[in-house]
């Protein structure tokens, strides 16, 4: 159950980030002002109600999954790297929500100024999404291949 939830939430998170990359590129490149504004009107609730819950679910189910199985949390390097990546990505996402909230507020302005439109065409969302996508793809590769390697703690537990 935990494994299924972990895989589903992690893959869902990956897909959601891919959508945000597309949205970021659309906002950056679209000549249509209404399209640019619509991106952030949609992106903010989508982040709060899809991206953040999926990220937190991935982290929590990953913790449960590793603690309740023989893999452990600190015994294998691949689990340790995945944990670090997951915690880092969730932390950056939660901090970045302030930026998304701000962009949504600017997009909601009745008559956006030239300054507002320049702000909305920021490459920041596409860049953060791209980096997050790289990170999550790396985590997926680790999860699928589970490369060998015991941490010193794991080796002690195994042989001690």
């Amino acid at each position: 159950m935990a494994l299924t939830t972990h895989v589903a939430s992690s893959v869902g998170w990956l897909g959601a980030v891919a959508v945000f990359l597309v949205l970021g590129v659309v906002a950056m490149t679209s000549a249509d002002t209404e399209t640019v504004r619509a991106v952030y009107r949609v992106a903010e609730p989508a982040a709060w109600f899809a991206l953040v819950p999926l990220a937190l679910a991935s982290l929590v189910t990953g913790l449960i999954q590793s603690l309740c199985t023989t893999w452990g949390l600190f015994q294998h390097y691949w689990v340790l790297f995945k944990l670090a990546m997951n915690v880092g990505a969730v932390a950056v996402l939660l901090m970045y929500m302030k930026t998304l909230d701000y962009l949504a507020r600017v997009a909601a302005t009745t008559e956006p100024t030239g300054h507002d439109l320049i702000v909305l065409r920021t490459p920041s969302v596409a860049l953060h999404s791209f980096l997050a996508l790289l990170l999550l793809l790396t985590a997926t590769v680790l999860a699928v291949h589970k490369p060998r390697g015991l941490t010193p703690y794991g080796a002690r537990r195994r042989h001690g």
């Binding site: 390097y77 790297f81 970045y96 962009l103 300054h115 320049i118 490369p147």
Partner: protein, 56 residues
Amino acid sequence: MVPRWVKVFGAIAVVVVVLVIVLLVVGGDHGPGRHTRSDGHAASVVHLAVTASGRR
């Protein structure tokens, strides 16, 4: 014995973490606050950008 892939991942992780810290420290304002600086710097940069694009 630490596997080679762990050394490679570790090195990449250290570089990424250092890079992020440097960007946060040297880059100063990172986040929405940089768009709303009260010193007028952002506004003047935007004004210049708008003026320049209007001349094209």
